[in-house]
């Protein structure tokens, strides 16, 4: 198994998800919400003009990151990064913005995760180490968005599989994950099963099984 650098892993995950959205947008307009970290990078790689980015702090039609000389600290995304407007963008209050999400109007959300288990449970809001105290919009997004795409590196910093049999950390939502994209593979959840869709060229199926704790089906 060839190792993949962290930077390359992140870019590959973002590119893979962007390609998935470009394909989905061939059928029509697509509204997506992007979490902090790798998910935000997805916006750099989508090419379809029919993709619109929603930010849960109250904006539809989020543009690219603001260049240094054009930063407006009252124009931010949910990761508090300064962003830009796109033509036709709009602003909402927080209740309307989450109403848009909870109401099922946002097609997909991309989020990071500490763990995802083979029953599609997601753990991404807290590591109970006494240092964290916050949930933000994570629970609203996983239960509200139509499709939940998990963008995460395959292994934790200590080399453990992040795709597990059962989440050990407090969960964000029950059975909400639809797709998991790592630098080594793409998985989808269908009919309560985790199914392998793609494998990276650097890895064999046997090697993938050896670094993945969760059971998955190879079609």
């Amino acid at each position: 198994m060839q190792t993949i650098s962290e930077q390359e892993a992140k870019e590959r995950i973002a590119r893979t998800i962007a390609r998935h959205f470009d394909q989905e947008a061939e059928a029509g307009r697509l509204f997506i919400n992007l979490g902090v970290g790798i998910p935000t990078m997805v916006a750099n790689y989508v090419t379809s003009p029919r993709i619109y980015v929603q930010a849960e702090n109250g904006m539809l039609g989020v543009g690219c990151a603001a260049p240094e000389d054009r930063q407006d600290h009252d124009l931010i995304n949910a990761g508090r990064a300064c962003v830009t407007e796109t033509p036709g963008c709009s602003y909402l209050d927080s209740a309307a913005s989450f109403g848009m999400i909870r109401g099922g109007h946002v097609d997909a959300t991309v989020i990071g995760a500490f763990e995802v288990d083979q029953d599609a449970n997601i753990a991404n809001w807290i590591i109970p180490n006494g240092k964290q105290l916050g949930v933000g919009g994570a629970m609203d997004l996983v239960s509200g968005a139509r499709e939940v795409v998990i963008a995460m590196q395959h292994l934790s910093k200590t080399g453990k599989s992040k795709l597990v049999r059962k989440c050990s950390l407090p969960i964000t939502g029950i059975g909400e994950a639809d797709m998991v994209v790592t630098e080594y593979a793409v998985f989808v959840f269908e009919h309560n099963q985790l199914i392998l869709r793609e494998t990276a060229p650097e890895i064999t199926l046997e090697e993938l099984r050896s670094i993945t704790e969760a059971d998955f089906i190879v079609p």
Partner: protein
């Protein structure tokens, strides 16, 4: 510009009493009523319950209230931007009630529109639903969430007219319009007060019925 709702920042904050439940608009530092919070920190009024998305950063903005020991309890969504919150909570100095961000916004909206509680699928089956009634609707477990009301709301808007109609600026809108509906006393800090009739009625986000006091920085 004359408005019978106009008050200096100091006089406005003098209306906040010890032990009050105080709602504060903002997402990070966007849409943050800075002059009001500085005055609240200077006043030293204590035993407050602060209802806000986050608590700024250590010693900055709302974080100053914690450094000053003015806070008894917090109700909000995300305190990872201010690690002093977890420390104070772990040491038993403050209580913290974490609410998913969309539920938080909706609970505030609910208080403003006369809905005492509502069911939402967000957080069902998670730690944040423990102790709350859960019922199935459309075959989905939903959590009963109660409205969040406050004694005072400190909000930030871009412009007011003399009557107190408010318009906002970009993502500085966030929680401000729903908080304007959910407190007994609503104090709005604005950048500018314009004559009545000069705001486009189609663009007013918060009608003046909700606003009790107008104030401006530096006055």
């Amino acid at each position: 510009m004359y408005s019978d709702k106009y008050s200096s920042v100091t006089d406005a904050i003098a209306k906040v009493t010890r032990g009050s439940r105080v709602m504060v608009g903002s997402f990070g530092m966007a849409g943050y009523p800075g002059a009001l919070i500085e005055a609240l920190a200077d006043s030293g009024i204590g035993d407050l319950t602060i209802i806000s998305n986050d608590l700024g950063a250590p010693g900055v903005g709302l974080g100053r209230l914690l450094s000053n020991n003015q806070i008894r309890g917090l109700i909000g969504t995300y305190y990872n931007w201010n690690p002093e919150v977890a420390t104070a909570y772990n040491e038993g100095r403050i209580s913290v009630k974490l609410v998913p961000q969309g539920t938080f916004a909706e609970a505030i909206r609910a208080a403003g529109v006369g809905i005492p509680a509502f069911f939402t699928p967000t957080a069902a089956g998670t730690q944040l639903a423990e102790g709350k009634e859960t019922r199935r609707f459309d075959d989905r477990p939903c959590v009963l969430e109660e409205a969040i009301h406050a004694d005072v709301a400190l909000i930030k808007a871009y412009k007011a007219d003399e009557l107190g109609n408010l318009v906002y600026y970009k993502t500085a809108r966030n929680f401000n319009p729903v908080m304007a509906m959910a407190a007994d006393l609503v104090i709005a800090e604005v950048d500018e007060i314009v004559p009545s009739g000069s705001l486009d009625p189609e663009c007013v986000i918060t009608p003046h019925i909700y606003v009790d006091v107008l104030t401006m920085k530096g006055n």
